[in-house]
């Protein structure tokens, strides 16, 4: 088909429109309204699609190179579990996830709205986002913290009527103020995709060691609720007294199998500080994390959190 002037004119107009949209991005641009409107229109359809295909997702859950350790552990289970009816197991598993979420909310006195993940952003979009089935009609607002039974999941980026988009902690543009357990050392934690998260402490004198656990902190100027477990340190760089202290962090949450999450709609009156962290595991024991990503069994054991030897579960080999 030969190019006509009309074809080129149409192309130029469309390209200019796209570039204008890109240039107008920001808090005052049309992008946010467009996203809210699209969420209002497509959100209900996505919810229906997600619930209709949930049996398929459940069937495929856990099959991936990230979950090889889980698969090995599961093969040791007895056959009776595999023969049990899959949908009732999944229901039990999700009840377990909700249980863990409510426990963490109770410990920290967070007022939460529970929601389910119905869509996830593609990796080739370079952004780490997820869509949940709660929105402005449920009292959610942009900026609210999102957690699950394991710890910090992210914060709300866009809110529509009945769905919202969560920016996950491992997104490279994500930052949160954090504090080391049992101390007053505060710093910032940033996402790095599948690589371990980056930690930068405010004080060069901070004493850090691998295995230290970090929780969110409201004093570092963040808008997050305080006291939410983020992860444990993997590797610490620099020495005490150097200008800056950097470390890498393995998050507690397994981002490849998010299902039930809670949005903190009301912060607790007082900062829970370290009370939400689980009791420190004894050396050699594997910490348990409740996820429904595996095809059977409600609790999957994470690899033991041995400092500096085990990669994070979502680390791509």
């Amino acid at each position: 088909m030969r190019d006509s002037r009309r074809t080129r004119a149409v192309l130029v107009v469309l390209l200019l429109a796209s570039l204008t949209l890109i240039a107008l991005n920001g808090n005052s641009g049309p992008g946010r309204e467009l996203r809210s409107a699209a969420g209002a229109v497509f959100g209900p359809v996505q919810r229906v699609a997600a619930s209709a295909f949930r049996p398929i997702h459940n069937f495929f859950g856990g099959i991936g190179k990230n979950d090889q350790a889980k698969i090995d552990a599961l093969e040791k289970e007895n056959d009776a579990l595999r023969l049990a009816e899959r949908s009732s197991q999944y229901a039990q598993c999700r009840a377990g996830e909700l249980d863990a979420l409510l426990r963490i909310a109770g410990l920290g006195q967070y007022t939460i709205k529970a929601a389910q993940v119905i869509a996830v952003g593609p990796r080739q979009g370079f952004a780490w986002t997820a869509e949940i089935d709660a929105g402005a009609l449920d009292g959610l607002k942009v900026g609210m913290t999102v957690i699950n039974g394991d710890g910090l999941v992210g914060r709300l980026k866009t809110v529509s009527g009945s769905t919202s988009t969560v920016l996950l902690t491992i997104d490279p543009s994500f930052n949160v103020g954090a504090r080391v357990e049992k101390s007053i050392e505060i710093g910032f934690v940033g996402g790095e995709g599948t690589d371990p998260m980056q930690v930068q402490m405010l004080s060069g004198q901070a004493v850090l060691k691998p295995g230290d656990r970090l929780v969110t902190d409201t004093r570092a100027g963040s808008t997050f609720a305080g006291g939410i477990p983020i992860g444990s340190l993997l590797e610490v760089r620099g020495t005490v007294g150097s200008q800056t202290r950097y470390a890498t962090l393995k998050p507690y949450v397994n981002f490849t199998s998010l299902d039930v999450v809670g949005v903190i709609v009301l912060d607790p009156r007082t900062d829970p500080r370290d009370s939400v962290l689980p009791p420190k595991p004894t050396p050699g024991a594997a910490p348990v994390s409740v996820t429904c990503g595996s095809p059977s069994v409600s609790v999957a054991a994470n690899p033991p959190a041995a400092p500096s030897t085990s990669p994070s579960p979502s680390h791509t080999p």
Binding site: M1, L34, A38, F42, F53, A119, R123, F126
Partner: protein, 174 residues
């Protein structure tokens, strides 16, 4: 454009967007998710030509930019898919009657589209566009698109052709 054709295109793009975000993304394909909207845009452009292909690409890209859980600058996919639709549409005459050629062209469109999206992100200063992510994720995404195209592309092209005026006379006066 007749109303039937516009409705079909809108329906196909909307369905592809919902399936890509809410269904395909939840199946744990390692590293990437198939770009169903890109495949649909390319298939439609192969039937409809460059002008309509550009418009369809723009519409499909805009959908991808705003449908949850999208994040980042709105307009990036609109820009990339508009160009993809135009380039692929220019080959719409050449693929008449061929079975393999559309799939090859769509594979090329997938590579160009994904690479283009990464480049646009990098040019506007998106901190998320990291080289390590690009080199591990993009080839896998292209692979999934190539694997999915024999199922999606012929179906969409057949659907679109049913709404086309296919006489040679009509084409020469368009």
């Amino acid at each position: 454009m007749t109303y039937g054709r516009v409705l079909l295109v809108a329906l196909l793009l909307a369905t592809a967007a919902v399936v890509q975000t809410a269904v395909l993304s939840r199946i744990p394909f390692p590293d990437a998710t198939p770009d169903l909207v890109l495949l649909v845009v390319a298939a439609l452009a192969l039937v409809q030509g460059p002008t309509r292909g550009a418009v369809i690409g723009f519409a499909g890209g805009l959908l991808l930019d705003v449908v949850p859980p999208a994040d980042g600058a709105v307009g990036r996919w609109a820009l990339v898919l508009c160009l993809v639709g135009w380039f692929v549409g220019r080959a719409s005459d050449a693929v008449e009657g061929s079975v393999v050629l559309p799939l090859l062209i769509v594979a090329g469109a997938a590579i160009a589209g994904l690479a283009g999206y990464a480049v646009v992100g990098w040019l506007i200063g998106d901190v998320r566009v990291i080289g390590s992510t690009a080199t591990t994720v993009l080839p896998v995404a292209v692979l999934y698109d190539i694997l999915l195209s024999p199922f999606v592309v012929p179906l969409v092209m057949a659907l679109a052709r049913r709404f086309e005026v296919t006489t040679t006379y009509a084409r020469t006066i368009r």
